[in-house]
Amino acid sequence: MLSTLYAVLFYVATILLIVGTGMKVLKYAKTPAPLKIPVSPAPRTKKGVVLRMGREVTLFQSLFKSNRWIWIFAILFHYGMLLVLLRHLRYFTQPVWWWVELVQPFGVYAGFIMVAGLAGLLFRRIFVNRIRYISSPSDYLMLLLIIGIGVTGLGMKFLMPVDILAVKTFFLGLMRFEINPLPMHFGLLLHLGLVAILMIIFPISKLMHAPGLFFAPSRTQVDNAREFRHLSAWAAQLPPLPEAIPDAEEK
């Protein structure tokens, strides 16, 4: 019964995550960016922008330049989570890809690193006065939610092991539209429940900074306003100025 409930939960969560995120990304893509506003120093070629975005995505360059110790926690968390997510691919692939097998032992350590990074970011929200002043409940919620997922995951690894064969069969089954029993294990149900909540609120949360970064005109624009006139799409559609209006110089 609870297995069925969790199956429904994950189908709903997956649909909401994909459709919700897709709709938001569509909205971002449609939102006009009428002005040329790359943050300088900005690259003057398209290739330069690609490199800049690459550094931004992989190294968090702008965060590095603005705040070094937040950058340390952010890097720890994001790269820890990357390895942990890659490690979890073993539950969704059969046979498991060779490089996922290779990642397994590193993913375990990455779990601790990820939680440590999140703890650092949480301490920042609580103990840095000006940050606490601007922190909203949702900022705390996101941190606590992901910390909860990390801690229950590590708990299952080290304190209260669970039958992961059954867990894998459950998720392989979901991908083939069949429901298999999920082990009735408190830690597992909590872990999966929190993950489902995260998936559901992802599209309406600040976590949308992940796709949002690619639509930030201050980072994605080429700094070539001197070489080419910047004309936004809606401005290009305006009718030409009537002849009767004289140019400023002729007055």
């Binding site: 073993r90 498991v96 894998k168 429901i179």
Partner: protein, 149 residues
Amino acid sequence: MKRLFATFLLLIGLIGSMAQAGEDATSSLYPVIPKAAGAPHPEGNDFMRINHKNLLKHDRDLTMRLGDREVKYSLKECIACHAVNGPDAQPVSVKSEKHFCRVCHDYAAVKVDCFQCHNSKPDPDLVKQLTMLPVKDRELAEYLEGASQ
């Protein structure tokens, strides 16, 4: 909103009916775990599936460092009952995908370190001792052996 709710209800109904269809047999997605030869574990298979790694903590740690001289579980005995025979009717080593340990460990992508040092093939004498006689008879044999001494 109403339409969304109706869609959810429909989805739940569909999945519910799916669950009933799939309940009768163990899933084909679950690995096929080879049957063992000896007496079943008193702790039960579910316990063993989760905790065997702790029971197999190395004697180096348990006996040599912590001084426990009565380690109940031995890898040798696991291997003896859980031997899987290859096409040549001989027990396969861990190099074969059919090896008992590998069936699940491959499925879960968990590396087995044991066999870097230990033998993954059973000791024939131990196999005989553990599997030829049922439990009652084995106890009797041990008793007789003791009595004869």
